[in-house]
């Protein structure tokens, strides 16, 4: 069995009214320990902050770079591309 703990991405909301922001990652055996480690490592145990931890493998990401070959085989979701929708030329302002 692998003794390597999985990688978790850490998101912290510094104070109420703000979004959670990605601050980094860490290793932990499970979600509970990941939360605790995140508190130690990234928030100095500031009680006021809210933390999310997400297994790094559970993140689905788009590519900021359309030429990213990672996405090339399946392509991106074409229905998000404006040219996917054929619009008659006489429809104004689209």
């Amino acid at each position: 069995m692998s003794t390597t703990w999985p990688l978790w991405e850490v998101f912290v909301r510094g104070k109420r009214g703000l979004n959670h922001v990605h601050v980094g990652s860490l290793h932990a055996p499970d979600a509970e320990m990941a939360l605790r480690n995140a508190r130690d490592v990234y928030t100095r145990r500031n009680e006021g902050v809210s933390i999310w931890v997400v297994p790094a493998t559970e993140i689905t990401a788009s590519s900021p770079d359309e030429k990213d070959p990672f996405f090339a085989p399946s392509g991106d979701k074409v229905y998000r591309h404006p040219t996917f929708y054929a619009i008659p030329e006489d429809v104004p302002h689209l």
Binding site: P29, E32, R36, N37, D40, R45
Partner: protein, 294 residues
């Protein structure tokens, strides 16, 4: 931010520059430092030394893990706990020093072994030295923090406003320490055969030193309203330990207790053999340069 004043950490506070260190950045300046009327000041000083030495010596032990923990994240966690306890020790020694006319450093570095008042549980080697391992360290942390948390939650009502403030601040820290220890106890108890065996052995290692935590000392008896009678904590702490051990699938060790030495133990300044070595290491530099400033 400053590390100068041991009391600074008592009043909530702004962000420190240190990434992980806690508890240096605030001040006790708002807390009333007068001694309550009618309090036995010598007893109060002794009591502060007891609680302060527990924290100081255990912190010294925990800091031995620095750069030796099973994973980086745990290295940081254990150092945090050591720092919290060191912060508690500094405030308590400073309070004792207000009675005794000494600084925190004079008390930490210039007392001899027989003048230290900590319980044996704080001083024994539970790893990373040969006397234990990570499991024994967690076992000690579980027992110590469960006990101290129960103690501090009552100490908040102390007639001494400084002790009450120290307890108030320490409470959150100790809750975190206990939680950390409990999380690990469950994981080690449940994880693998080896970790289960080691965790059970860790409990057996520390159990003989549990009884001393609940023995009422004459100093405590003299400080009604100021000190907490540790005998009153037993059932609460037992309940906590019971719950954690049962969640972890571990067996509570038989109630063996380490014998006292001619009736005396840590609170009386009578320690185990490792204490002399611990102090020799901790104190030698301070003592070998008299008059130096740090």
């Amino acid at each position: 931010m400053s590390f100068d004043n041991a009391y600074e950490s008592l009043l909530g506070g702004e962000d420190a520059h240190w990434a992980f260190g806690t508890g240096f950045s605030e001040a006790l300046s708002g807390v009333d430092r007068e001694f309550p009327a009618g309090v036995d000041r010598d007893a109060l000083a002794s009591y502060c030394l007891m609680l302060g030495d527990d924290a100081l010596i255990f912190s010294q032990r925990l800091a031995e893990w620095c750069s030796r923990a099973p994973e980086l994240e745990e290295d940081i966690a254990l150092a945090n706990i050591a720092l919290d306890l060191l912060g508690q020790a500094r405030m308590l020694l400073t309070r004792a020093g207000e009675v005794l006319g000494k600084t925190e450093d004079e008390l930490a570095y210039l007392r001899d072994e027989r003048e230290f008042r900590n319980v044996h549980l704080a001083e024994i080697d539970c790893g990373p030295g040969p006397g234990g391992d990570f499991a024994a360290t967690i076992a000690r942390l579980l027992v110590f923090s469960s006990w101290r948390l129960a103690l501090f939650s009552r100490l908040r009502g102390s007639a001494d406003p400084v002790l009450a403030a120290i307890a108030e601040k320490g409470l959150k820290e100790l809750a975190y320490h206990r939680d950390h220890a409990a999380q690990w106890t469950v994981r080690l108890g449940d994880g693998t055969d080896e970790s289960h065996r080691r965790m059970q052995a860790g409990l057996e290692r520390v159990w003989p030193f549990v009884d001393e935590l609940f023995a009422t000392h004459p100093v405590e008896a003299r400080l009604s309203g100021v000190a907490v009678d540790p005998a009153s904590l037993r059932s609460e702490v037992d309940g906590v330990l019971e719950a954690v051990l049962s969640a972890a699938g571990l067996t509570r060790p038989a109630d063996t207790k380490a014998a006292r030495v001619a009736g005396m133990a840590g609170r009386d300044g009578v320690h185990t053999e490792v204490m002399g070595y611990l102090l020799a290491e901790m104190q030698h530099l301070h003592r070998s340069l008299p008059g130096a400033v740090w």
